[in-house]
Amino acid sequence: MAEMRYREALNQALAEELERDPNVYLMGQDISVFGGAFKVTEGLMDRFGEKRIRDTPISENTIVGIGVGSAMTGLRPVIELMTINFSLLALDQIINHAAHVRYMFGGQVSVPLVVRMPQGAGHQLGPTHSHSFEALYLHVPGLLVAVPSTAADAKGLLKTAIRDDNPVIFIEHETLYGQRGEVPDDPDFTVPFGLAAIRREGIDVTIIGISRMAQTAERAAEQLAAEHGIEAEVIDPRTLRPLDLDTILESVAKTNRCVIVEEGWPHGGVGANLAALIQEQGFDDLDAPVGRVTGVDAPMPYAKSLEQISFPHEQQVIEATLALFGERKRASRG
């Protein structure tokens, strides 16, 4: 194990895959000479050259489309969009083309493409630079969606994404880039898609955290144990497509309660989707309605005082969890 930052883990994954497969190449705005807006690709141009680490103009839709075309004809592009906000400009190529080309042409081609991009609020960047869009991409059949929340997962999932033959939406988090974590040394270390991580074991409630919110959920769980005597099991799905629903349902069967925490908007969100799946398939296991903690139903404001109350923190997770226990649990503590 080596300790490194999330961004360094991503950089290592890219370098190892570039080394392993000559058809892997990187493309994006300011990823080469500049080293990436968040320095994820730093040093790669010196090592692999401009042919494989390609700076692009600011043309998101066309960058993704070139990736799709080159993937259809044998290359394995890894595209960096500077942030997930800008991926809205590329929705036609991501949805109509990357996700659908294989299906609509009867399986004649595949699109081994990775689109990497960070999301998330907390840097006072206002309405157009603070989105969380995992729910948007989760919606689309044909795409795989990864949401790593640790350095090890960032590396292991990215390597899997690059080796997979499907288009992968790889959602990083701006706040996590500088965070350190233990990462296995083994150069063949990968993390499979569709395998959730149980971050904390518990018997009283299942808390599912998406992307950065897996960490928020973990911290909330520690407080719930210390201050309320509630032992929460914290699950990080790590990939939303494919989704490890089995691990979630097994946990809910044990705890009989569930709270889902995400940074994005509530309507049509990941939590809405998971809550539907859990009630459809685990209804008899539930002792309370599935709880959701989400970003607020408004664009992201600039003012720090407003921004900080616009996405979930530990306190909201704790309150949503306590609400599932009603008076009974509180009374039993008395």
Binding site: N61, T62, G69, S70, T73, P242
Partner: protein, 348 residues
């Protein structure tokens, strides 16, 4: 315009056969549509045969060709089996895309016909992607990308031409100017109506060809492909042509006059080319009739083949949504999950 010299007689006759096949195929497709054998939209290429056949004739078999939602003709010209094209229109399992794509989404990888695409302008970035692959692998393949005059107003037009020129990609962009973006005439949708110069500001020089003349289209496209392939310089070719039918079958054509259609129909690419071959002693009336008859018979067989082909099994609905592998073992969709083995999970 100085008339181009004809290629070898057998090549000329092949082109005439190919154009005739497209014409008869499209006429039959229109007829089958009215009989409800074909669903959705149906965009016919009647009138545009010279642009298709001339352009395809300028390609090597290893070159990539990519087109629009009006793409039956491109598939046929590239050599796809007419029966499989018709079966795709009928939504049958033997269709080129197993009934997943339909009229707007033909595709034949084996012949490097890289697709018809339903989103106007959506195919341009993909063409640059094919060009990037050729460049990356260091081979001599080049790409021809056809799109309509309407697509020249999309953001992808400027974005892609800029990138193709910036990266010296071997791609020829061919805007088939059939005078209308659906029902909006060129002068009502593009401030610059001389489309061949629309790429100059992006570093993509333009050429023009008479899209009603198969020889001229071939000659200009061939030169454009040479420039793209050898000089690594993308080129924009404007092919001037006219579609004789509406935008799609469901088009009342209120936006143009009968006189205009009649004037263009005098330049019917099929008739003018056959007349020229006759005048130059390559084609006699008997052969001319035989070519037509052969095309009709091929189309008859295509319809029979499509009719005989089964409809896709409901159990195949989820095929090819994903490449199934160790990572994506099964189907995780909410509506498909049950107690049993999931789609693709049984790998035995």
């Amino acid at each position: 315009m100085t008339e181009n010299q004809l290629p070898a007689p057998e090549v000329s006759l092949d082109w005439l056969k190919s154009m005739t096949l497209i014409r008869r195929f499209e006429e039959r497709a229109g007829e089958q549509y009215t009989r409800a054998k074909i669903g959705g939209f149906l965009h016919l290429a009647i009138g545009e045969e010279a642009t298709i056949v001339g352009a395809v004739a300028a390609l090597r078999p290893t070159d990539y060709m990519i087109a629009t939602y009006r793409s039956h003709g491109q598939a046929l010209a590239r050599g796809s089996e007419p029966g499989r094209v018709m079966a795709e229109l009928f939504g049958r399992v033997d269709g080129l895309c197993r009934g997943r794509g339909g009229s707007m989404h033909m595709f034949d990888l084996e012949r490097r016909f890289m697709g018809g695409f339903g989103i106007v302008g959506g195919n341009l970035p993909l063409a640059a992607g094919f060009g990037l692959t050729s460049d990356y692998l260091g081979n001599e393949d080049a790409t021809l990308c056809q799109f309509g005059d309407g697509a020249s107003n999309q953001g992808t037009f400027g974005e892609t031409l800029n990138l193709a020129a910036l990266w010296s990609l071997p791609v020829v962009f061919m805007v088939t100017n059939n005078q209308f973006g659906m029902g909006t005439s060129l002068e009502r949708h593009s401030a610059q109506t001389n489309l061949q110069i629309k790429g100059e500001g992006f570093g993509v020089p333009g050429l023009e060809c008479d899209g009603m003349d198969v020889v001229d289209t071939w000659s200009v496209t061939k030169e454009a492909m040479r420039i793209a392939r050898e000089e690594r310089q993308p080129v924009l070719v404007e092919a001037l042509n006219y579609r004789f039918r509406g935008h799609s079958i469901a088009d009342p054509e209120d936006y143009r006059t009968e006189e205009e259609v009649l004037a263009w129909s005098k330049r019917d690419p099929l008739v003018t080319f056959a007349d020229r071959l006759t005048a130059e002693g390559i084609l006699n009336d008997e052969q001319r009739e035989a070519i037509d008859l052969q095309a009709t018979e091929t189309v008859d067989a295509a319809v029979a083949f499509a009719d005989a082909s089964p409809e896709p099994e409901p159990s195949s609905l989820y095929d090819d949504v994903y490449v199934l592998s160790d990572q994506v073992r099964g189907w995780y969709s909410a509506d498909h999950r049950g107690a049993g083995v999931q789609k693709g999970e049984d790998l035995s």
